[in-house]
């Protein structure tokens, strides 16, 4: 794996936020490489910049300084429109808060991602297949409010994965769940990673997830402190 070209390359990424009259340096010079198909976990104390880092890679935010390349394309040069395309077509986002659309059924929430991508063929059966894969084959017709927290999170995962994204970005996907459900989700993500490929970048303190990571990045004060490689 180390022989392959890296898929995502961050060089000296800085992100500053103006908070009132002082500036918060959320990221101060992060450089890292992520390879295709990797399952990476980002750890670090609260406020260390984990979410900010994911936002940069997932096309939600742009760095104040530094560059990010995805498959050789410099996404840091893109405007909001192009970043939107990028999120729509190439990134699967999973948030801590499930962010489903309340008026759409489970399968519709999943299929919406396909619709946005402009990939409209058989969207219902593909969405249902994906829900089956996350273990919700019998609940495809439910509305978000009719699902438990763990089930909702699984819909969110299905929604992120259904479009076969190059990168899956997850910010504390099990943060709101109980241990057992968290474990199931972690297993699921790992399974899907093995089954469908895709590169995973996950922020999580959940032992279920960290033990499955190939590499773990430790962030502290906006900088990468250490990298643990579990794959070796």
């Amino acid at each position: 794996m180390a022989l392959k070209e890296p898929m995502v390359v961050l060089s000296d990424v800085h992100r500053d936020f103006a908070l009132g009259d002082h500036i918060v340096h959320a990221l101060r010079g992060v450089s890292m490489e992520v390879y295709e198909g990797e399952f990476i976990v980002v750890l670090g104390p609260s406020g260390s910049g984990k979410t900010t880092l994911l936002n940069q890679i997932g096309g939600i935010d742009s760095p104040t300084k530094g560059t990010i390349k995805v498959k050789g394309e410099e996404i840091t040069e893109w405007g909001t429109g192009q970043l939107g395309d990028y999120r729509r077509n190439r990134v699967g986002w999973i948030f801590q808060f499930f962010n489903l659309i309340p008026s759409l059924r489970a399968w519709e929430n999943v299929a919406l991602a396909l619709e946005f991508k402009g990939d409209r063929e058989n969207i219902k059966s593909r969405a249902c297949d994906m829900l089956k894969a996350v273990g919700l084959g019998d609940k495809t017709d439910r509305f978000p409010s009719q699902l438990s927290g763990g089930e909702q999170q699984r819909v969110a995962i299905a929604r992120a994965l259904v479009k076969n994204p190059e990168i899956i970005v997850a910010d504390e996907p099990t943060g709101n769940l109980d241990f057992v459900t968290g474990e199931k989700i972690a297993d699921l993500m790992k399974d899907l990673n093995e089954q469908f490929g895709g590169t995973y970048l996950v922020v999580s303190h959940d032992i279920n997830i960290t033990e499955k990571a190939q590499r773990v990045f430790y962030l502290r004060d906006g900088q990468i402190e250490t990298v643990e490689d579990h794959s070796k």
Binding site: D61, W93, F97, I101, S103, S145, Q152
Partner: protein, 802 residues
Amino acid sequence: MKILTMKIFRDIQFNKFRSIMIILTVFLALTLGLGLINLKNSAMVSVEATNKQLNNADLRIRLSGYIPENNVSLLLSESEKEAAGITDLEGRIFEYSTVNYKDKIHKAYLIGINFDNARINKLKLRVGDDPISDDQVLVEQHFGNILPLGAQAKLNDHLSINFRNSIVNVRIAGFVADSEYIFVVDEQTNAITLGELCIIYIPLEILQQKFNLTGVNEILVKTQERSNAANQKADQALSSLLGENRIQNVIYWDESMERGWLELRTDAMENIGVVFGIFALIVGSIAIYNSLSKLIIAQRTHIGLYGALGAKNRAILVHYTSSGLMLGIIGIILGWIGATLTTFVLINVAVSVFGLVVITVSSNPSNFVIITLLAIFLILIFSILATLPVLQITPHEALRAPYSTSELGREPFLERLLSPFRIFKGLASKIPLRSVFMNKRRSLSTALVVSASMVILVISASLFFDYIYALDQNYELYEKYDAKVILSTPTSETEIKQWIHQTITGITEIEGFVYTSVWIGNQRVPLQAFHQNASLRDYNVIAGEKLLSKYEILIGNNLANDLEVKPGDQISFSFNLQSNLTVEVAGITGEIAENTILWTIEAIQQSVSDIHHIGIKENVTAFAFTFSETISNDDKNQIKQFIQERFNPYVYLDSSEAKSTILEFLNMFMQLLVLVALLGLATLVLFTFSSMSIAMMEREMEFLALRAMGAKHRTILRIIFTENLIYGFFGFFIGVPISFALLKPTYEFIFPELYLPSVIPVELWAFVAVIICLCVFLATTLIAWRTWRSSLPDMLYNRMAN
């Protein structure tokens, strides 16, 4: 301060838009309601204050001859005055005459007073200066161009006074206000003569010189108390002194009549205030309900948290209710200011026609208290109603998921109906339909705000249109003649026709009719009778049938209400209090002549046995005619002059002039209605816009999710737009039947004495629809702007922080 109390302020601060909208809502409702209701009281108080400032006489004693000026003050000793309840006496000259102004003859009063030291009936110079030379006079302001109606004379214009066979030319030095002529009612006919009657004030000595008069012929009296009893007492004391034969007539300043006259006019304004004020308050309450209930949906998690932390449901209820109430009270306080301003503007518009010297805004304390309490009550009730669902939120449920389970339905029927259409195929296009239809209660409150505020606009604008429409109809369809002449002595119709055909060109059709009054019990009621086959007069029968025969009459709807008769009933009346006639009411008319009995000349001649007494066996008491289409205004004036010279009529009324006079007199009313309609428009725009915006703000989280998924701007914009459009659409269609249902009762409440057709012009619907679309557009733009202006990472960050 308790933390929860502090949170109320925080919520207000963090939800600026929502808070401002609630405040504005209450503000607008109060401004409109209280502002209009205060109008009547302010008008009355202003008249009163004007009278007081100008020290208006309580009693005027017109003598049959002239007495030396000095005698007036010597008439009574101080103690006699005291005994008679008289505080002051002053002599002046008062004479009837005519003036010629710009080739038109006007009735005129000549008044001779001492300008400088007049104590009673003081004049207030409005424009121009006091006379400095003998040929200069002051003229009462209604005749001048400083007030909207009438002759519109200008400063320095010439007048020729025609008095006792001599003609004197004078110039106008200034226009004055005279408290006695605020309404300018002709003393002889009791008709309102706003601006047509020329009241001329000349320094006493100059008037005496000009017309060779010595002394004064009128005594102005101020009494201690302002009451009719005091007037009578003073009158008796002076009469016995002057001797009955020296008194020509005594005019009491009859406050009750003046008041009644003004009250009648301002009553309608007050009614408008009551109706629209209450409408506005209700709409405002619904808007508050809507906005608060959305706040609660948005804060479900907070509420769950309070519960989880052990807060009592009651405390949470009080918490949210008080946030509504607090905003409401700020709105009320601002509303008081707004109402005062509204009244100020309105009263200036509304009473400008009277030229009051003092204009004050004053609130009837009871109105003020009632409206304020009503506002607080409504705000409280609707706040509680909006907050009640809080009790159903269990911490478990609220914290479990950010989605409400309280309401869940099936996919709306509309979705299946629309699904064959290409633009409704996508999943994104289902979002707006479902958000609206699967949360019926929530959506209904948004749509209701739109409907209710729309009703205000529709009714106020219709009122405006229907008022003009009624006038137009009246002169186009019913009173089809161009002019009518009411004669002072009955004259033969053939004679009239012959004379006109021989002497006047430019008149196409003439019809004689009877215009007189009859007695019903001891009430005098006008009666109008055209020929059976009259072509110049038709009737707008709104109930019963249009039948006019020996046994059947029509009756104006106002009179019908007064007498409590309906078609088919019998009524009895008499021409001379002796022999009663009994006829059936065939129908009820809704026209301007609402207090009139309508019959035909033929029927009268067949039914009335002692017809000779009233002189209408072969005579008519009035005639109506039409001008040829090409006639010029000069010719019309000429005709008027001819007819006046020949018949010396009681009234000569040109329909177009009558219409424009009514219109102009109603001008103040119209302006009021326009103002109400404008406020209605503001209400519609504000409430629709805000309710839509608030409905969307609640869903910011959802749009955030869509954005994070990479949804295109276009997609989100379409979702917001469609959803707003649905609210607008339903608001509109709920509003239509409500408007229709409320229109007639509203009219009847506002103008109980007036028949108005309840028509809502089609254009108005179109206009309202356009305005609603505009609001949809505005609200969409605002939300879209808010969504795009905010940076995605910031939003997500804040979301997490929440």
